[in-house]
Each structure stands twice: as structure tokens, then as C-alpha cells.
Symmetry: C2
Amino acid sequence: MTTRAELDTIVSTASLVAPIVASTTDIERALWLEAVADALDARVDDLVALANEESSLGVPRLTGEVARTTGQLRLFARVVREGSYLDATIDHADPGSTPPSPDLRRVMRPLGPVAVFAASNFPFAFSVAGGDTASALAVGCPVIVKAHPGHPRLSRLTASIVTEALRNADAPDGVFALVEGVETGIDLVNSPAIEAVGFTGSLHGGRALFDVASSRPKPIPFYGELGSLNPVLVTPAAVSADLAAGLAGSFTLGVGQFCTKPGVVFVPQGAGFEALLADAVGTPQPAPMLTPGLAATFAEGLERLQQRAETIVGAQQEPGSGTPVVLATTVADVLADPEALLVECFGPTTLLVRYESVDEALAAIAVIGGTLTATLHAAEGDDVADLADALARVSGRVLFGGWPTGVAVTWAQQHGGPWPSTTSPTHTSVGAAAVRRWVRPVAYQSAPSAVLPPALRDENPLGIPQRVDGVLTLP
Amino acid sequence: MTTRAELDTIVSTASLVAPIVASTTDIERALWLEAVADALDARVDDLVALANEESSLGVPRLTGEVARTTGQLRLFARVVREGSYLDATIDHADPGSTPPSPDLRRVMRPLGPVAVFAASNFPFAFSVAGGDTASALAVGCPVIVKAHPGHPRLSRLTASIVTEALRNADAPDGVFALVEGVETGIDLVNSPAIEAVGFTGSLHGGRALFDVASSRPKPIPFYGELGSLNPVLVTPAAVSADLAAGLAGSFTLGVGQFCTKPGVVFVPQGAGFEALLADAVGTPQPAPMLTPGLAATFAEGLERLQQRAETIVGAQQEPGSGTPVVLATTVADVLADPEALLVECFGPTTLLVRYESVDEALAAIAVIGGTLTATLHAAEGDDVADLADALARVSGRVLFGGWPTGVAVTWAQQHGGPWPSTTSPTHTSVGAAAVRRWVRPVAYQSAPSAVLPPALRDENPLGIPQRVDGVLTLP
């Protein structure tokens, strides 16, 4: 565990180094990220072996996750080189307007030191060198990661690789650090020098830290990705054995330990989807979960759901493991007690909700409030416009076919959504736009050209998009 | 005062109408805003007369403020027509990537019904039809304004003009409403259907409402513009009688009732600036403040400051009025007790802080924490790079010459800053980017073209900027 004195030193170092990091160029920081990516790739075997020991997620999945993580670091390098994130905006003086308008130029600057809380279920992509760390470093914020206790040795190994790669790439010491311990995490959020927090984890833990961040003497932005139900709606014409097989694969992927696991599936009453899914799941097999605590929480959550819903595919849970379970209920029952049935149960289970009309299903989806994803399985000829709109109203990503468990890391990805799926519906934690969480705008009025950040100079030395007198211009 | 039952009806109407408003086009809403602007301009004489009765801000200033307000409505109409705010991003499917990447398209959508708290000091530009209302309507959010009690009759007249103009422009009923009363305001923030809050006012009141918004069962974004010190730094070579005259004009403008009033001015020790400013201020004359309460708060704040700082230009305060006062102290005294001296005193006063070295002054500025503006008055030949950087670190707008009290409404304006100047340093409440506060991203995965919002279609029917496969493209 990190001691209070160690934490204080780490935070004050981050604070001292913040102006230096802020003054580096986007190109310099892009090179840091690429150096970190290369260093992690070079150690992929060691990293995966250790991750598998601590998480039991399996070598193929973990190897893929390292590639995703280093791809993510490289994407953020491209994002800051491209420069749109700076939102460079130039309004030349207009002496003829009433009142006369001065020369004004606006650009994004880093917020300062940020805290990142690692998740257990993605020991690479949402952990020490994951998306929060990469996006914050990309824009020039020092990062202090609070390690997840589910993979402490992997966290330390990753941190040592990151630290060494940053140093070799000439990043200043103190731009990145790792801390450990629950109390340390709370103290970190309460540290006056911390300017923002990124968090991926449970609704309970996220809400508690959000409350800490919001009730500081100086409140700070808290970007929490919490739980998500990820509803799926299947139209009558879309019911098929293939679809059932797809769902079985998605809700059991990674032992159901995905924040995008389809937790609730609206299926047409009497279309036989339950039997198709039961066939697709077959005989449920236990698989080790990330931590004994998560397995126990899963078993408890299941038990509560089983008291209110029918069990279609059942299994006795074993300590430390999760075994697939399929439950079923009706929209009427969901609407009678949404808080009991529409709750995330993190692990390999999904709740089928039989609907008699699509409107009825949508009424239940509206009660979910907010979710990272919402998926529609329809067939050729189904009228999906209203459904799509209703799903977009409650979610951050609407899928037409496919399964939400895959989250591509691209420019257009959105991994966020209304409460309770996140604390901050206006942002994303995956994809290019994730950098936006860590910057704030500063305008320069009547500034001499020599003082202006390069992004704001008329000659556009960075070759980035600029909005000039209201018109977006490309380099 | 609005009754609880009336509020409930207003909020539930806004909630019901929100999906309809969200489905309107940017062009339709641009026409709404322009209709509101035209209607206000057509009633400028009535509006200004009533505003002057209630605020005593004077006909010329209020006439200018109506023009600013209608200009602001028209700017937001241009902003949504231009369409960059939608952040339209298209990633075509990439079956060759590992893992294969689906078609993903991301766009901004309105958050839903928002609450806007009007300010007293700008009865047009930051009130019923002000920037928060205009920017939220622009992107398709129903708006419920909590009127400021400082100008109740003007609020009702403005609201009736806005309501009629919106109706005549075919906006749906319920897209805009006015409510009154302190308790009503708190109930409004606590209403489950409200998705975000805009606020302009005091640190005390803003913090209280921020805490309400953050501690709801479902927390919501709270964009509060609170108090600001707006430090000015004058280099030795910049000291002049003209500069003193400029400062006198700025800190007394509108009886000092600007959130951008220069509250603290760092002046070189022994350069004679105090005498120049005393000359410029002349014999202080009382002028009516916005409300008797504000005048009383000003007098109390002054008294506290006068116990610790020297009075250079003094005046007995009269009930209901504010009379200019100039105070002076040293950096050493400020650093000894920053919380006593670095406090906003809303009204016609400014505190000169004598510095012996620029580094000393910057140490005091760093203690301010966050401010909307920071102004540098330097002379040809002064090295200002480090100063500019230090000022940018604590503020949202850095001015090189001039005075912060003018806030141009343009694309590049930034009216925001680190705590305590706002609750949300990543946003602005003035300028084109103010619309960003009221939208959240939604990604569409593998969506049929017919279902996609027009902004995301390959043929780009809206003719807006789109990022396609990572490349920003103009129409």
C-alpha cells in the first residue's frame, strides 16, 4: 500500500511537473505514447502470463487486450498530432462591430494532474496503461493511477514498463505514477492538486468517489463509467437459433465480466427464444471469476433475481467461479418493480423479458434510464426508425445487429451514456474523443503573436484545423 | 411565485416535449432563435424602460445589452446551421482490422430539459433570453428559466415575448417556460426530468445549487459561473495616467456589477500608480445598485477589506447605492492571509496590490486558484511570455492590454475558468462553444442509412463538417 507520505510526494511532484508537461508539444507527447506502446508490445508475453495468473481471463483474450491497449496509445498519438482536439479558434479584431470586437483566440490546455482508477475486468485496456491514462497523457496531464487490487503484480509490472519507456522518451520524471490502497484512492481524489478523475468500476464505488470529488472545497470533474444493463431488443421476425447462439456467446464472454454485457433481452412472448437460448448455452460450465469477491457478489445478485424471475438455465454457483444462468420474466413484472429487476448483475447471466408489444418493451427500456449500449435485432422489413430513436434516448451507443461486448477503439466510438451508466453523459472513455475530458479552453485577447500558443498563430505552424472568423479551415 | 403544482406541470410538459424538440432540425431551431431575436428587437424600447426601472443600469447600457442578447441568439442560430457542434464522425467498417471493426458513427444529441438560473446584473444577456437559454434551445433542449427576483416584471415581459415568438415560429408548446421563487429553483434542480443546469450568480448560491445537482439520486451536470477576481498585472513600464483612467472606467462600469470586474490589480511598488488612480477616480459619486441586498453585501464586503487594506480613495456607502472605493495592500499581506484579501467584492471597488518583483506578484496570482479573466498591462520590450503562461494557468481568458469587463460574443470567446470562477472549467457560458454544455454523444453501430441522423449519412445532406475514417472533411 502507498503511505500517506508517499502519496503526498507523488501528488506534489505531479503538481510541480504539470506546467512542464503542459509546455511540451503534441508531437513530443505522441512520441511518449508510442514509446509506451512499443515497450508494452515488447513485453507482451510476460505481461499476459502475469495477467492470466491474476485474472484467469485466458491467454488469447489477454493477448488481444494488450494489442488493443497499445493500439489505443497509438490512436491517441494520432489524435493529438491531428490537432482538432485543440479546437483552435481565431477571431480577428473587428473594429467595425458594435461594440468593436478585439482579436480573440481560443485553444484547449491540459487541466493538470489527474487521477485514474483502474478496473479489474480489463487488466490492460482499462488499467494502468489503459484509455484514461493514455488520453490524459496525450493532452499533457500528469497521471496518477490508483491500481486495482485484482491484479497488483501486473499493475506494478505495467507501471515499471510505462515509467521506463517515458523516461527513455525524455518525458519528465513524475508525469506518471502508480499508487495502491483503498484509503490512498480516497486521499488521492481529495488531494487539492488533482484536477480531474477518471474511474471505471461499480455504481456503488463510482458514486462514492463521485461524491468525494463533488464535495471537495474545490469540486473537480469526475468521469466515472459505472454499471450498465445494455438492453437488447429482438423483434419477432429476428428470432433464430443463430441469434440465440450469438447472445449465449456475448453474455458469457469473459465470464460475463464486461460493462457492455447484454444484461436484459426483450424477446417476443411465445416466439420460443427461451428454448433456443437454453439449447445454445447447453450445460453451463463454471469458470473462475476475476476475484473471489466478484464471484460472491455475482452469486448474491443472482439469488436476488432468481427470487423474482424464472430460471430458464440454472446452475449452482461455486465459490470463486461464475456459471452461466439464464433468467426470464415479463415486461409487466419489470414495470411493477424496476429497481428489483433492472439491476446490473456482473457475471455470466442475462434476463429475458417477454414483451407482448414493442411499445411495452420500450416502456421498460425507458425505465432503465441510462445505459452504455442498446442493441436492436430486427429483420429485413421491420420498421426500426422509432425503435432506434427510443434506444438512442437512453444509451450512448445503439447497435443494429451484433453484440455490445465488442468495443472498437476508433474515432467514432462512444463509450458512455446517461446515469447510471456514467457520471458524465457528455463524454466518452473510449475512442478519440476521450481526450476531451482532460482539457479546458483558454482564450487569448489581443495577444502578441510571439506569446500565442502555436495552435493559435495565423501562419498555423502546427498544420492543424483552425476556425478562422467563424469558418473551419483545414491545413 | 410558481407553485409546486405549476412547476410539476411545467417540468412534465418539458419532458414530454423533449423528444419532439430533439427531432427538429438545426435549421428549424435556428429560425426559432432568429424569431425570438427579432421579437425582442421589436420591443426594445419597452424592454429597456422596464429594465431600467428595475435595475437602474441606464438606458444606453441596457439598449446595448438588448443588441448583444439578440446578436447572441443569432450567433447560436449560425452555430447550429454550421453544424460543427454535432461532431459528426463516421468510421466505415474495417473487416481487415484485428478484431474487425464495425461501421460506427457518432453525433451529438440534446441532453433533454434544462434549467437556467438568470443573473441580476445582465437583465438581458444572462437572464430569461440570455446565453444559456439561447444555447440550450439552439441544440434542441427545452428550457425552464428560474427568474432572478431583481427584475421580476422584466422577466415576465421577456418570457411572454419569447413564448409568443416561439409559438409563431412553430416551436412546440412547452419548449420554454419561466418559473419564480427560491424554493421553486431548488425544486427545479431536484426534478428528475431535468438533465442539466446553467447558473450565473454568486459563489455561495452557485455552490449550494451545485451541491443539490450533484447529490441527486441521479446527479446532473451543473454549469455554474460564480465569482471571479479578474486580476490585472501592470508592469513598471506600463504605468501611466491613461492606464489609471482605463482602470477607473472598468472597475466602476455598471457600478462594478460585472463578473469580469478587475478586482485585484498588481502594481509595481513605488511607481505612483495609486496617485494616478486616485486622480482618475476623482470625487466618488454614489450610484444605485441592482438591489438593496447587493448594496448591503457590497458595503459589508468593503468594510471587511478595509480592516485589512489601506483605503486610497474612500467613501461612505449609502443604502441602496455603491460609491467607488480604491484599496491598497502588499503581496506580502495577501500571501499572509489570501482568504481575507483575495475575495470578490461585487461592486465599484478594486484592490491594488503592490509588488516588489513580478515573481512575487505571480505567487499571489497562483493563490487565486481560478478566475474568468487575467489581464496583463505591459510595455513594448517587456518580456511577457512567462507572465502570459502563468496567467493562462489560472484563468479562462488572458488579456494583453484592455479591460476584462467587455466580453465579445464570438466564436473564440471563453467565459469560464477554474474553480471558484466556475463549477465546470471545461466549458464556456459565452461564445459559440457554449452549446457544448447541452449535448451528449451517441454512436450508431452498423445502422441502416435510413435510420441514421442526417448528420451521419455518407451523402452529407446537411452539408456540415464530417470526420470520415479519421479525416476531417468540409462540405
